[in-house]
Symmetry: C2
Subunit: 209 residues, 2 copies
DNA sequence: TCGCCGATATATCGGGCCGATAGATTGAGC
DNA sequence: GCTCAATCTATCGGCCCGATATATCGGCGA
């Protein structure tokens, strides 16, 4: 799921690895402490698959955002050569998302994976998908949580005189799950309201009062 | 952390891999969906380190729980040989925890890892450790959650006009974290009450009214 | 009685994730 | 100029997981 995170962030702006990690931390907060040990291999993977591409190599000169297509000529190249000779380049590889990457992002958003982490990430990138997709994801999450709730409830009911700590854990889990379900319900309602609002804007016929 | 789960379960009863997985699912519920791809390698690892040992090999005969020390003699061996010749043995490898394993379990319980999963597991096995250790773990968890709460709050405050979905995510995270902190607080209070109660039982002097 | 099937049971493999670590540049402060 | 912390890319070993292979077991219908 780290690929989803990378693509979702890169869709907003071209960034190099280190910045990417900082943005991830800021946007997803405690939901994803992506380590460099995952980030760089993932970037390589995505590049190999053509989902992202190196947009520029920032060597410290002012000429950032220089496309890599074609050969560098003139002053810039000379400047870079000088720099490289004296101190060596910084070589910050700035990545950008490609058309393939956009498709991949959509695929990953539609992926059935539905755990805490995955769902949180998808929600964080909801702005990149349309309303039907959003509703599908929300409904799926609600179904998952309801199933989990049922499971935990059965487990609690099955053994009454069990260990008090296990019991406390399960009861707390039940409560948390119920609250999460409510929350998802509110998100769904909000989404449906907006959908209705959009509908009214487009075809105001049939509106009563 | 799968080792903690295995040792914690095995401390209660000797089990073979398949049973182990079922017990794990029952006790830890949705907190750990340990797969065989982790379970069997982990068992091997633990056996190599001497933390668990094969207590018996259940080949389908009625004589379960037969220790492996010494050679099998008499009827049981004959029966086993007959069975093996005709249909082949079932070879359920029943594992048990060793003295080394008990030490390892205590070490893993004291481990500073403090994420959702790790803490949940430890709590599920609280019955295996003394009250000071429990309180230490609870306090540590509370500190972690408080830190996370602070972090999320700062992130929310830092950008006001941000994406509504990211905002919803963060606000929900804040709420959940606060509830978790309250919960931990209640567990700590309960633990301290019991500690005080124990103290009164032992030295009833100084009790005022 | 035979065959089929789902549950039981052990095990491995490829691939991904993570913590630790390495190696290097850069800017700020002194 | 010197040190130090932050920036930046990258790899390694070890662990975890989903998929998969293999084989037995108990029950149920033909």
């Amino acid at each position: 799921m780290i690929e989803l995170a990378i693509l979702g962030i890169l869709k907003e702006a071209d960034l190099h690895g280190y910045e990417l990690k900082k943005h991830l931390r800021k946007v997803l907060g405690p939901l994803s402490n992506v380590s460099f040990g995952s980030l760089y291999p993932a970037l390589k993977r995505l590049e190999r698959h053509g989902a992202v591409a190196v947009v520029a190599i920032d060597d410290g000169s002012e000429r950032a955002s220089m496309p890599m297509t074609g050969s560098l000529t003139g002053e810039a190249a000379a400047f870079r050569a000088r720099r490289r000779a004296t101190r060596g380049p910084r070589n910050k590889k700035v990545y950008g998302i490609t058309a393939v990457g956009e498709v991949r992002l959509a695929e990953l958003m539609a992926d059935p994976a539905d755990d805490e982490r995955s769902f949180g990430m998808k929600l964080a990138f909801f702005r990149w998908c349309d309303r039907p997709t959003r509703l599908t994801l929300l409904e799926r999450r609600r179904a998952t949580l309801l199933q989990r709730l049922e499971e935990t409830r059965r487990a609690v009911a099955a053994r009454e005189g069990d260990d008090p700590y296990v019991r406390a854990l399960m009861e707390h889990d039940t409560e948390s799950t119920m609250r999460d379900i409510d929350w998802i319900g509110r998100l769904i309602a909000s989404e449906q309201e907006q959908a209705a609002s959009d509908g009214r804007d487009k075809e105001p016929t049939g509106g009563h009062s």
